[in-house]
């Protein structure tokens, strides 16, 4: 079974802190994704990566950066957390060929106070 794990299920941080969210997959997938999910807005893509050290901005990259030093690991970084980044963060991975079925981690609920 494909497994995507995220470093924390719940996280509480203070405004201005640097926050690291980590995601690891064990299926040798080329693609990895970070989404945030907010009520009424569905899933919005923050960044995705199609290879090690490669990244592409999604729909809402502002305030975030990412790092992919190893194929299995994709990190989301909030350089200076703000209260409007309180959200559910979901990591996903997929092969880099159609049909691009995605496998999700359990999510990290981040609260910024």
């Amino acid at each position: 079974d494909v497994k995507v794990t995220q470093s924390s299920r719940y996280l509480v941080k203070r405004t201005g802190e640097k926050v690291f969210l980590e995601c690891v997959q064990d299926m040798d997938h080329e693609n990895m994704f970070w989404y945030r999910q907010d009520p009424g807005l569905g899933l919005r893509l923050i960044y995705f990566s199609y290879d090690v050290k490669m990244k592409e901005k999604g729909d809402i990259p502002e305030g975030y950066s990412v790092s992919r030093e190893k194929k299995e690991r994709f990190s989301l970084i909030l350089e200076s957390a703000s209260t409007n980044q309180t959200s559910m963060y979901l990591c996903a991975s997929s092969y880099s060929r159609l049909p691009y079925e995605q496998y999700f981690g359990p999510g990290t609920r981040l609260t910024v106070t």
Binding site: G42, S96, L98, Y100
Partner: protein, 111 residues
């Protein structure tokens, strides 16, 4: 936005009834996928239908695709309380490999 739109936003039915939710999208797709999300958890892939297919079945799930209307529907037959979850469609386009998720349908099955 290329995000799909789902309808209805929320659905409440009795156990044993069928549940139908719909997804509309905007441009030509390669495939459309349905995912399920239990409260506070990640999404789980349910079923995929390719643009050259009109209907697919998987257990109690039936998906249809009408490319002329740019719409898809997910039918869950003989619903159970355990089907209570949010359901999302995701459209995959011919260009690039990004997904576009809809905003989801929240299904409540009352025992």
């Amino acid at each position: 936005s290329q995000q799909g739109e789902e309808d209805p936003q929320a659905l409440s039915i009795q156990e044993g009834e069928n549940a139908t939710m719909n997804c509309s999208y905007k441009t030509s797709i390669n495939n459309l996928q349905w995912y399920r999300q239990n409260s506070g958890r990640g999404l789980v892939h349910l079923i995929l239908i390719r643009s050259n297919e009109r209907e697919k079945h998987s257990g109690r799930l039936r998906v249809t695709l009408d490319t002329s209307k740019k719409s898809s529907s997910l039918l869950i037959t003989a619903s159970r309380a355990a089907d209570t979850a949010s359901y999302f469609c995701a459209t995959v386009y011919h260009t690039g490999n990004q997904f576009y998720f809809g905003t989801g349908t929240s299904l409540t099955v009352i025992p």
